[in-house]
Symmetry: C2
Subunit: 352 residues, 2 copies
C-alpha cells in the first residue's frame, strides 16, 4: 500500500495549495468564501484518498505517466468524495465524521452559540452550499486539465454521468431509510454498486484509463471490476458500522442501524429472524440513535442466525470475481495490477 | 420580448427531449432516476427562461449563429437555475415556488402521506439529491457542446467559477437571514451582484460571447453589465415580494420578510425607523411566516418613510448605468442590443 500512501501525500499537497488559492478567490465575494474553502480543506485532507490514488494507479497501469495531470484528476475525485459526504451527512443527520463534527454540524453549533432561531436549518443550509461549492471546484479542476481536449471532454462527460447516477442511488438509500419495504438481496447489491462502486472504484479507474487514452471497451471492464470492489467495500463498511470501534471508524458504531439503512447484514438477518425479533429490529431501525444494549441485541441475533458466516461467503465470492477481473486486465503494467490486488486485500481486512 | 418568448419555446423543447432521455438513462439505476428527471422537467419547463434566452441573445449579438449549440448552452443555464432554486427552497423553507409545491416539499408531502418518521428531512434529502443531479446534467450538456475545444473549456471553466461564487454569496444570504448584524448599503448591493447578477446575467451573457469567440475583455464589460442588471432584477424581486400578488409571483407575498432577508427595502427602512418600529420589524423578520397585518404594517412604514421613492432612485441609477453599458457594446448587432434594452425595460416593469 506504499503507492497509495505516497499518492495520498501528493494529493494532500496539491489540494492544500489549490484550496488556499480558491479561498483567496472566493474570499473576494465575501468572508464565507474563505470559510468554506478552509473547512473543505480540513475535511478533505483528513481522508484516506484511496479514490484519488486509484486514478493515478489506473493511469500508470495503462502506461500514462504525467504525474501533474493524474494528480489533478485524483484531487478532483477527492473533492467529489467530500461533496458527497457533506451532503450525505445532512441527509443522515450524522453529526460526526472522521472523528470530528460533520460539516453541517460545525455550522449548526456555530448557529447554536449565536442563538439562531433554527440552528439545524442554518447548519444544513451552509452544508448544502459548501457541498455545492466542492462540486464546482472539482469541475474547475477538470476543466483545467492540460491533456488533449478529447480526453478532457471524455473525463468531464463521464464524471457528470457517474455523479448523476450516484445521486440517483443516494435517493434510493434515503427512501429505504424511511420505508419498510422488503427488498431482494439483488436490490441491495444493486444499491451498493451504484451508490458506492461506481464513484469509488469504477470512476477513478476509468478516469485513469481515459488519461492513458484507453478505448471505451476498457472502461467496461473497469466498471465491472469497480462494481465488485464496491460491493466488497460497502459490505466491509457495513461490518465496521456494526463491529468497528468509534475511534477507528470516526463515527458512532451502530449509526447506520438507527437510520434504518438497508444493509446486507440486516437483510439476511431479517429473513432469518422470528416475528418477534423482526418487530424489535424494526423498532431499533426507526429509533434514530442506537444505544449499546440495542447494538448488543442486534450483534447477538446476527451471531445466533449465522449471518457473519453468510456475509463472509458473499464477500469471498465478490472478492474472487474482482481478483479474476484484475488478472484479466490486458496490456497493463504488472506492478500496478499487483497494487490493485493489494488494495483488494486491504479492503477485506481494513479496520477503519 | 418576442426573441425571449421564441427562445423559451426552443429551450423548453430541447429540455423536454433531453430530460426524457436522461429519465430513461438514470431510470436504469433505479426508479428514482425517472422520478427525479420528471420532476426536474416539470419544474424547469415552468420557468420564464430569461437566463437561457440571454445566452442565445448574447451569442447572436456577437455574430454567432449556430442555433443548436446556443440552445444547448441556454438549456444548461436553465438547469443551473433549477438546481439553485431547488436547493434555495430547502434553505429558506419555502414550500411554494411558481405557484406549485416546491420540490423538496413535494417529497415532504409524499413522506407525510406514508407516515415517514421525519418527512421534512426526507423531503430535504431528496431535494438535495435532485438539485445535485441538475448540477451534473448541466455539466453533461456542456461537455457535449459541439464547439471548438478551447471554447468548450472556457465555458465550463467560467461556469464552475461563477457557480462557486454564487454559492458563496448564498452562504451570506443564509447567514444574514439569521443574524441581526447591521450592513452597509454596499454590502447588500454586493450580495445582489454575487447572488443574482453573476449567474442570472453576467454568466449567460458571457457564455454567449464565448460561443462567439469573444476575448476576455468583452467578458469584463458583460460582467459589469450583468452586475447592474442583477441589482435591478433583485430590487424588483424584493419589491414584488412585498407588493406583488401571490398569483403572479408564484409564492406567498411577504415570505422574504418573515425569513429575515436583508433587502435594500428593509435596509433603508431600518435606517429611518424609530427604536420602537425597529423592535417590531425585528420581531416580524424572525417570525418565519408573515400574516397580512404584519405585511400591511411594513408597507405602511415603507410609505411613511418614503422608502419607495428612494428605492426608485437607486433603481433608476443602476438602470441608467446598464443602458450606457449596453450602448457601449462595440461590434455587436444592433437588433440584439435593442432586445437587451427591451429586457431591461421589462425587468423594470415586470409583475411576476
Amino acid at each position: 500500500m506504499d503507492f497509495f500512501e505516497n499518492q495520498r501525500k501528493r494529493i494532500q499537497a496539491f489540494l492544500r495549495d489549490y484550496l488556499e488559492k480558491k479561498a483567496r478567490e472566493l474570499g473576494q465575494v465575501n468572508p464565507w468564501g474563505r470559510d468554506a474553502c478552509d473547512r473543505l480543506a480540513a475535511f478533505t485532507l483528513g481522508g484516506k484518498m484511496i479514490r484519488g490514488a486509484l486514478t493515478a494507479l489506473s493511469a500508470r497501469m495503462y502506461g500514462f505517466s504525467d504525474p501533474s495531470e493524474t494528480l489533478k484528476a485524483g484531487a478532483a475525485i477527492e473533492l467529489l468524495q467530500s461533496a458527497f459526504l457533506i451532503h450525505d451527512d445532512i441527509m443522515d443527520g450524522d453529526e460526526t465524521r472522521r472523528g470530528e463534527p460533520s460539516l453541517f454540524y460545525q455550522y449548526q453549533r456555530w448557529g447554536e452559540k449565536r442563538r439562531f432561531s433554527d440552528p439545524l436549518l442554518f447548519g444544513q443550509s451552509m452544508g448544502i452550499c459548501v457541498g455545492d461549492i466542492a462540486f464546482f471546484l472539482l469541475i474547475d479542476i477538470l476543466s483545467g486539465l492540460e491533456v488533449p481536449p478529447a480526453i478532457r471532454q471524455r473525463i468531464t462527460g463521464l464524471c457528470a454521468g457517474e455523479i448523476a447516477a450516484t445521486c440517483t442511488a443516494q435517493m434510493q438509500d434515503v427512501h429505504w431509510g424511511y420505508s419498510e419495504e422488503p427488498e431482494e438481496e439483488q436490490d441491495i447489491l444493486n444499491l451498493y454498486v451504484h451508490k458506492t462502486g461506481r464513484y469509488t472504484f469504477g470512476l477513478p479507474l476509468s478516469v485513469g484509463a481515459i488519461l492513458a487514452g484507453q478505448p471505451e471497451e476498457t472502461l467496461g471492464t473497469l466498471q465491472r471490476l469497480g462494481e465488485r470492489l464496491g460491493i466488497v467495500f460497502q459490505i466491509k463498511d457495513d461490518e465496521l458500522g456494526l463491529y468497528g470501534s468509534e475511534e477507528e471508524i470516526g463515527k458512532p458504531v451502530g449509526s447506520d442501524l438507527g437510520e434504518g439503512k438497508k444493509t446486507l447484514f440486516m437483510h439476511y438477518l431479517f429473513k432469518e429472524a422470528s416475528l418477534d425479533e423482526r418487530e424489535k429490529l424494526k423498532r431499533i431501525s426507526a429509533s434514530g440513535k442506537v444505544g449499546s444494549s440495542d447494538l448488543n441485541y442486534v450483534r447477538g441475533l446476527l451471531d445466533a442466525h449465522g449471518i457473519g458466516e453468510r456475509i463472509g461467503k458473499t464477500l469471498s465470492r465478490y472478492a474472487e470475481e474482482a481478483r479474476i477481473l484484475i488478472d484479466s486486465l490486458d496490456g497493463t503494467v504488472e506492478r500496478y495490477r499487483t497494487a490493485l490486488k493489494e488494495l483488494l486485500e486491504y479492503l477485506l481486512e481494513r479496520r477503519s
